[in-house]
Structure formats: structure tokens, C-alpha cells
């Protein structure tokens, strides 16, 4: 059984997620946000990266879909100089925690150091337009 640590750990997480699929009753319940998680070979020492495959208009999501939240950043580097070490990646985090963080990020953007400056400006100054744009994006993603 030549399985790496990363492999075994991901199996555990996969089972836990399939059997116990996270919190219910959030405003995003029912929405579908296809995303891709890429795990490094030394997972869980290093964090995975997360990328939305559809269009997500959000201050903390790069136009490419790459998600920029502190839990996905290793404690060593702080590209944005505002994150506390305690918020950043540690092997005790998990896919489930990442997904929870992303859900709360979707609801409450952090515009201190935005990945999508345009979206952040719109979110700050023209909230109505921002919400309309987000809703349109979600509807498009659902094929409505």
C-alpha cells in the first residue's frame, strides 16, 4: 500500500465530505459554484489552491477565478500584509474548512486588499449594481 500522506489524508476528507456535506441553511444553498481545488504533493503541509470555473464577480476572486482568502495562504508569506498568521493555512485546516471560509467570503467580501479591484469598487460604492451583477452571474452559471 504505497500511499502518500497526502493521498491518505485526502481519502479521509473525501469520505467525511461525502457523508457529511457541510452546513445547511446558508443563502448560497441551492446555488452551484463549480470550482477546482489543486492539492500540492506535500498536502497538508502546503495549502491547495482554489479556482472557480465559472464567472464569479467578487472582490476576493481574481478575474481568472482564483480565490484569494487567507486560509489558502501559507503562514510564511503574506502577500497582502494584512492577514493574521492565525487565519492562514495550517495542516489542521481541511477542505471542509476552506469551503466554509469561501462561503462566508462570498457573503462578506473583504475589500481591504481586493483581488478584483473593479468588483471591490462596485461593492463599496454601488452596492445595488454589484448585487445585480452577482445575481446575473449566478443565474448564468445555473443556465437560467
Amino acid at each position: 500500500m504505497a500511499q502518500s500522506t497526502a493521498h491518505r489524508r485526502l481519502l479521509q476528507e473525501y469520505r467525511a465530505l461525502t457523508n457529511n456535506p457541510g452546513p445547511e441553511g446558508t443563502p448560497f444553498e441551492g446555488g452551484v459554484f463549480p470550482a477546482e481545488l489543486r492539492f500540492p504533493k506535500d498536502y497538508p503541509l502546503a495549502p491547495p489552491s482554489m479556482k472557480f470555473l465559472g464567472e464569479v464577480w467578487h472582490p476576493n476572486v481574481y478575474p481568472s477565478g482564483l480565490v484569494c482568502i487567507s486560509i489558502l495562504h501559507p503562514p510564511g508569506d503574506d502577500p497582502n500584509h494584512y492577514e493574521h498568521a492565525s487565519e492562514r493555512w495550517s495542516p489542521i485546516q481541511s477542505v471542509e474548512k476552506i469551503l466554509i471560509s469561501v462561503m462566508s467570503m462570498l457573503a462578506e467580501p473583504n475589500d481591504e486588499s481586493p483581488a478584483n479591484v473593479e468588483a471591490a469598487k462596485m461593492w463599496r460604492d454601488r452596492r445595488g449594481e454589484y448585487e445585480q451583477k452577482v445575481r446575473d452571474g449566478v443565474r448564468r452559471m445555473l443556465g437560467l
Binding site: 502518500s4 493521498h7 489524508r9 473525501y14 457529511n20 498568521a85
Partner: protein, 470 residues
Amino acid sequence: MEPRNEELDVPNLTDWLNTPLAGLMPVEQAFRCHVCKDFYNSPMLTSCNHTFCSICIRRYLSTDPTCPLCRAKVEEVKLRGNWALREAVDAFVQARDTLLQVARKPVAAPSPPKRKAAEYDETHTDGRENKRHRMSTRSRRVKGGEVTAAMMREEYDAIESDDSTYSEPDDGLVACPICQKRMKVNQVDPHLEASCVGPPDEQSSSASRSRGNPNSNSRSARPAVQISPQKTRPERLPALAYSMIKDGALRKKMAELGLSTAGSRPMLERRHQEWVIIWNANCDSAKPKKRFELLHDLEVWEKTMGTRAPTSSRAAILGAQIKDKNFDREGWANKNKNSFQDLIANARRTRNQVEKQNREASEEQQKDSEKQRHEQLPEVMDLTGPSSQPEGKYKAEGKSKAEVEGEGESKVEMDIPLDEGFHPADYSPEPPHYGILEQPKEMQYVPHQGPVPPGNAEMPIQSKPTFLPQ
């Protein structure tokens, strides 16, 4: 990537969900390492009182000398074994299969609602009293008293039947949950207090336990409490300050340890570091592995993270090999002759397909533009006059030659007969309007072509705005 089914058959704490023993989920979580999410393997206590598997914390500290949970500074040399937890984990792992069998027996009672692990506040003790405790927590959780009786029945059933084929004789008696002796229901409690002799057949139950967990057999052989530990423990290896040590010295050291010295200097360092981690973690184990087993562990590391790790893909590795100057080109070419030929054939086929599609597309385009031109026809006739008509026909052929040389639409005329969907009549230059239609287009192409038929030289300027093919 979807994991294979057999791989998914790993013990996981969510196994308890939707069973009457869902309360064991937080228990199991407490027995699992935060880093690897597996049961603690040689749990070690940090100076900040957190516990991790020996290998997990050692590996993490090699990248960042802090506690993964609270980020306090942690020194590797100050890690201490958490032996009590080790015993508890081993005991739980041994009991787990049996407990799960009990929990998974079909019950009449509704399963408790799904909840998140963190929300569970009840904790359970394991051991004998567990039974009573469990029942009370369950009756708290599952609302309605009518299910309690069903659950008690189920519980007795489950405990007595270690093998699932066992069926209860219909004699109006119940079996003692411990010793399986059959008696009247109201005798069970006094019997348990006073005269129960314990489990009748230890062997059968331990056999059923070991079925799902290959480790449990060896573990159950270990005495519950180690009275004389540390017989001949292997010595821990010191960490090396890699920046202070020269290549040759490092290689020598690794050769002394019996490690491979293949790969670049960073790879050597990582391999040595991994070996120190594996070795030292093994020193914390209650049952230290043999050296060759550790070498096998290092082998797994080598395949997944080390020199033989899939750097990015198989193709990338092959690419690196092929670029090597010692690469056997002839041999490679011979070996892969067939695949090369297949690839070439494939490429030709797809190119033909693409060309065919382009052709069809251009035909469509042509049809469309013809329609357009048809609408504009009267104007054309006014511009060119009847005298140009014969020339138009002549140029239609010249044009096809020009296109063969130039554009993507080139082979339209040449290959049309091969196309099944094509009706030559539609495209034949014979219909009288065709020549006229072609003419404006021709005018546009003529300047690029070289010899310009006299008399038509000014025409492009006039006709271009109207007839430019879009």
C-alpha cells in the same frame, strides 16, 4: 479525480453518522490527529499541550517551528510522548469494528438528525459503563419514549450477536449482554450486578474485530499497560544544519545511513530530512518498526515526493529524458515507430477533416455571398455592361486558380466533386448570372494576381465598396 471504491473503504469518523451511536463521532474525532486526520500514531505532546502524531508534528516542524493548532513556538526536542492517549486510541481502534457492527444493525428507531461534529457536546466514555451512558444520551437525543424500548431490544440483540447470522431463539428469554447466558428480562440486572462471569468467547469477538483492521491483531497482543517499556530503543538521529555541511560530507553521512545519494543537493537534503523524521518518529512508537520497513516508508516518500515523484506528468519526465544528451535516439525511434506512424496518420486524418469542414463552411459562405450579390445584381449589370460578360466567364476560372494559391477557401473548386452534399448545378459556372456575379469579386482579386485584363483596371475602385466579400 474520483477515488476508487475500495480506497474509500477507510475507517472514517462519519461512519457513525446516521447510526444510533452517532455520539461516537466526536469520540473518534478526539482520537484522530488534526494533521493527518487518521488515528493518532505515536501521539506526541507539544510544549503548548497539543497532541499530534509523531511523524505529523515532526514533518510540520521541519517546515515551520510552530504548533499547527495555536502557532506557539514548538521545539522538536521538547516533544513528549502522550502514552495515555496512545493506550486509549489503541483500545478504541480495537473496539471500533465491533461497535460499528452494533451501530449498523438495522433499527426500528429513526436515526438521529444529521449534525456537524463540532456541535456535539456530549462526550462518551468507553468501557463497560458505556452501555448505560450511551442509552441515556440516546434517549435524550431521540425524542419520544416509544423508541427507547426498541433501542434497548436492539442493543441487546446487537451485543450478543457478534456474527450477523446469529438468530435469537424464540424462547421468551433474553441473553445477558456480557456472558450471553439466557434468562428472563427482569433477571438481567441482578445477574449483571452479582453473577456475570464476563464474555464467554473472547476469541470469536477478537476475530471479528480484526477482520476490518489488520493492525488490531498485533495490537491486541500487546499488554494493556506496558510495565517495562524501553527495552532496546533505537537512538534518535540529530538534525543536521544543512547550510553548514558540504556536499561530500552530506553524501558520506547518507551513505553511512544506507540512504541513496542520487539527485541534486536539495533533494539530498530533503531525503536526509525525511529519513530523520521517519526514524525519529519510529523511536516514539510503542512497537518500533524494523529498519527495512522504514526504508520502505522512505521509498514511498521517494515515489511521491522525492526523485521519483511524478514531477508534473509522465510526459514531462519523458521529455526530460529525451533532452538528455546520452539519450538513445535510434532505439527510441525504433521502439516507438508504430506510435509515431499512428500519430502521423491521425494528424493527416484530422487535417483532412478540418479542410473538409472549412470547405463546407466556405461553400456556405459562397452561397450566402451569392445571395447577397444576387440582390445587388441589377447594379452590377449597370456598372459592367453587357460587354464584360464573356470576360467574366473567363475570369471565373482564373479566379479559382488565384484562390488555390492564396486563401483557406482555396480548394473549393478543386475538391467539390468529392463532396456528397454538393450539387454541381448550384455552383456550376454555366448559369448565365454566375459570370456576372463572379465579376465583381474577380475585380477585387485581379490586382493581387498580376496580369490585369485591360479594360477592367478601373473597375475595382468603383465596385469595391459594394462587393467587398465580408
